[in-house]
């Protein structure tokens, strides 16, 4: 960073400095003089004087201090013999390149005999390091201050206490303040005074942080002869209480995290099942090739991204916006073809449809395997989907999951709109309710069947775009979702989109809530068994359609 210093000021003091570019004075005269003197002391003083100078320099909060002290700790700070210039030296082919600490400008290249290295023994370096840690606490940038507070919290360096308290008094930002208070309490926890420790424990109890939990737990550790790490009983009691409180809040956060993961899983299930809810629920067709429609969507994403990579690498971030309609069209067209080619001959024979579409799914899988190879295909994530939101309790919400939840809700809303508000939706519902009558009214039922099936398959294709962001794109992609999707539809109640929504989210959340207690596999088994038992209670699912038929 170029540091602008008024040339006149520099000259006014006894330290001979290399001339800087004339710039507007940014500091008061007296401050600058003091600063220069401190730098000189740092170079020439004895141990005590140097220590004092470091503390004083740190307190100025001047941005020049940090590189200077860092250089000193690394033994790269030099004093030029001829004029007493203090400068940071950098190794160069011709010798030592000097950079003036006050102006930040280059001060020529010298040989190693022309300069004295400013000495710093180990103890001095320790002082410098802690000074550096605390001085960033005063940095004008809030992010830097936060970082510094975290550093102090981790090091629990008592030397930083004063600076921390100083900074705390001046701090306006709430988040930084909290971090500083946490760091201060962590330091006080190591103090000799039991009252201070008690205060620290109480302060810490309001934070929800796994680190603090282990810190407090350490107080309650007993050694072999039964003495506690913490000698004072009141502090121990407070620590126990604080631990409980933290534990409770952490548990709450964890549960919240599981529910979020559950919603995320539920949205994936919903995306996969929603197309099935149309073909299975509305049309009564068991489409075992539904998973392969999802797979087609994922591979369409892959192809679209390849095209973007080859022809428009700069627009890669927008590739998904092209992939979504493309996947809808590809899978939808495949759906229409399947309906016209196979399924229309099998209406009213759901079990045979199941067999035929299962055969179709084998063919599609093998086809994709032949064309794209059996290995996973790399589908990239656009930059706006990368990253995550971190919460204090150690729970991460990744953006891609958030976007998928959003996408899933949009698709669901869109589908409801299509069914309720468009002529096609009206015709679909008419054909579902009474095919003969719809036909008599002039609706081309065959065409409606094909379009309905295409719509369901197209949505599966869009699900494939979303899944390509979180799962491996391989020929088996669809297989892993088909059973779950069927369960969601059956659990929610066939023919009811809201039931599918409820089914997907309750299965997703139940799965994730069980996982920490039972493990991933056992949790899933438990959910499966629960569904099997549930179906016994309500053979038509959560939200069954009411009707007069004895047999559905």
């Amino acid at each position: 960073m170029p540091i602008r210093v008024n040339r006149a000021l520099v000259l006014a003091f006894a330290l001979a400095l290399v001339l800087g570019v004339l710039a507007a004075p940014s500091r008061s005269l007296a401050q600058e003089a003091e600063f220069a003197e401190l730098v000189a002391t740092l170079a020439t003083g004895d141990f005590a004087e140097k220590t004092a100078a470091i503390a004083a320099l740190t307190a100025t909060g001047d941005p020049r201090v940090q590189p200077m002290l860092e250089a000193m700790a690394d033994r790269r700070l030099y004093l030029r013999e001829e004029d007493g210039l203090v400068a940071i030296g950098e190794d160069d082919a011709e010798g030592l390149r000097l950079i003036d600490v006050l102006t930040g400008e280059e001060a020529g290249i010298v040989g190693s005999r022309d300069v004295d290295r400013i000495r710093a023994n180990n103890r001095m370096r320790g002082i410098i390091r802690s000074a550096l840690g605390t001085m960033t606490l005063m940095n004008p940038d809030a992010a830097v201050r936060l970082e510094a507070a975290e550093t102090v919290f981790r090091s629990q360096d008592e030397g930083a206490l004063d600076a921390l308290e100083q900074a705390l008094a001046a701090e306006a930002d709430d988040a930084v303040r909290a971090a500083m208070e946490k760091a201060r309490a962590a330091i006080l926890l190591g103090s000799e005074d039991a009252v201070l420790r008690l205060e620290a424990v109480e302060a810490l109890s309001s934070f929800t942080d796994p680190d603090i939990r282990s810190m407090l737990a350490a107080l309650l550790v007993q050694d072999q002869d039964g003495t506690f790490a913490e000698t004072d009983e009141a502090v121990r009691a407070a620590a126990t209480e604080a631990l409980d409180a933290i534990e409770q809040r952490l548990a709450l956060w964890r549960t919240a995290g599981h529910i979020y993961q559950g919603i995320s899983l539920g949205s994936v299930l919903l995306l996969a099942a929603i197309g099935l809810a149309i073909t299975f629920g509305v049309m009564g067709v068991i489409n075992m090739a539904h998973g392969e429609m999802v797979m087609l969507g994922a591979y369409t994403t892959f192809v679209v991204q390849q095209l973007f990579r080859d022809y428009m690498p700069g627009l890669f971030d927008f590739s998904l916006f092209v992939a979504i309609p493309a996947a809808f069209l590809v899978a939808g067209a495949a759906g229409v073809a399947i309906e016209r080619g196979i399924i229309r001959f099998l209406y009213g024979r759901p079990l045979e449809t199941l067999l035929a579409t299962w055969g179709l799914s084998l063919i599609l899988q093998q086809l994709v395997r032949t064309v794209f190879g059996p290995t996973n295909r790399e589908v990239g994530a656009p930059s706006w989907m990368q990253g995550a939101i971190e919460t204090t309790a150690g729970i991460t919400l990744t953006y891609n999951r958030l976007y998928i939840i959003l996408f899933c809700l949009i698709v669901f809303a869109g589908l409801i709109m299509v069914l309720r508000r468009t002529p096609l939706g009206l015709q679909m519902r008419a054909v579902t309710q009474n095919r003969q009558m719809a036909k008599a009214m002039g609706i081309r039922t065959g065409r409606v069947d094909a379009l309905t099936f295409g719509l369901g398959s197209g949505i599966a294709g869009m699900a494939g775009v979303a899944l390509s962001q979180i799962d491996n794109v391989s020929p088996n992609l669809g297989q892993s979702y088909i059973i779950d999707s069927f369960l969601v539809v059956v659990f929610g109640g066939v023919g009811n989109l809201w039931g599918t929504l409820a089914g997907a989210f309750s299965l997703g959340i139940a799965n994730k809530l069980l996982e920490p207690y039972a493990g991933a596999v056992l949790g899933k088994i438990l959910v499966l068994v629960a569904i099997i038992l549930f179906i016994q209670k309500r053979p038509r699912g959560l939200f069954a359609l009411k009707g007069r038929a004895v047999e559905a």
Binding site: E352, L362, I525
Partner: protein
Amino acid sequence: MTAASRPSGYVPLLMRLDRGGMVLLSVLAAAAIAVPALNLLMPPDSPFHVPTYLVSLWGKYLCFALLAVSVDLVWGYCGILSLGHGAFFALGGYAMGMHLMRQIGDRGVYGDPILPDFMVFLDWDQLPWYWHGFDSFAFAALMVLLVPGTLAFVFGWLAFRSRVTGVYFSIISQAMTYALLLAFFRNDMGFGGNNGLTDFKDILGFDLQADGTRAALFVASAIALAGGYLICRLMVTSKFGRVLMAIRDGESRTRFLGYRVEMYKLLVWTVSAMMAGVAGALYVPQVGIINPGEFSPANSIEIIVWVAVGGRGTLYGAALGGVLVNYGKTYFTGAAPEIWLFLLGGLFIAVTLLLPKGIVGTLSQWWQGRRGFGLRKRARPAVPASEGGAAE
């Protein structure tokens, strides 16, 4: 739609056979005698010698045929489409596998006299309780029937009692086998995790690799298939069987007539599961391994295809389908592995679209057409025109 002139009351077993059944039993009897004879008595360089691997391969096909017959019993005659029959097959196989594991004794890699290798590997110090008793063949044989039977009974009791039918039943039976698949993949379950049970040495004291044992297993499979076929035939030609078909063609109507539909379904479902278990138990010593892959839902669906290809509702057709499809699978996965899935998938579609009655149904229709209408009305339960259970 079934024969009107069938006598009720006691009918000798052989009189209950249709022509296809007689062919099936004759072929089985001939094979049970000829194959071991050609394998054991002919010198290896003779053109009539049947190599041992073929004996085991065809023994495996016979197990699949028995499995297909058991599925046909519930699907073809009662309209219950099970997408989880592979689970019963696998459970029977595991019961037999556990016995064979115990028979290894201290000949395993780790040489532990009691614990199977995988348990030593997992640092277990004693046998889990459910492994006790499997050192006895009689107990294991009982479990081969009881474990699948009990599971089917409980599952069926829950499902049929609450009238879960058609597609719903299919999907929860698929969920059942899927749950078992996941469970058996777990190492903690004590069934060898994803490696399953393997490295078997001998059965009833006979070396599993020996030609004689292989031939005996082949004969046992043939007898089991014949026996399973006869039991099914007995069931479907009795009054009980006619109620089953009534349930298939109109479940509510049958219920309204006063039959306790769920009891009929439960019985036939449990018997079918036990037969599948026997098929699995005979399958394991012949292929030498059982692993959780047998539980995969895709396997169960494949069984349905065997039945559909052979001809649903004929029993012998199912047996034929089981053998044919698997023979094709062996042939094509060897000759052209990449087109096997195309063929299998195409077979599914072609059979459902073009041959809704399967090979047997289509052939006999063609046969009857040639013989002239009404000349020989065989008493044979036909495939229903509208598919049972889930339709309408």
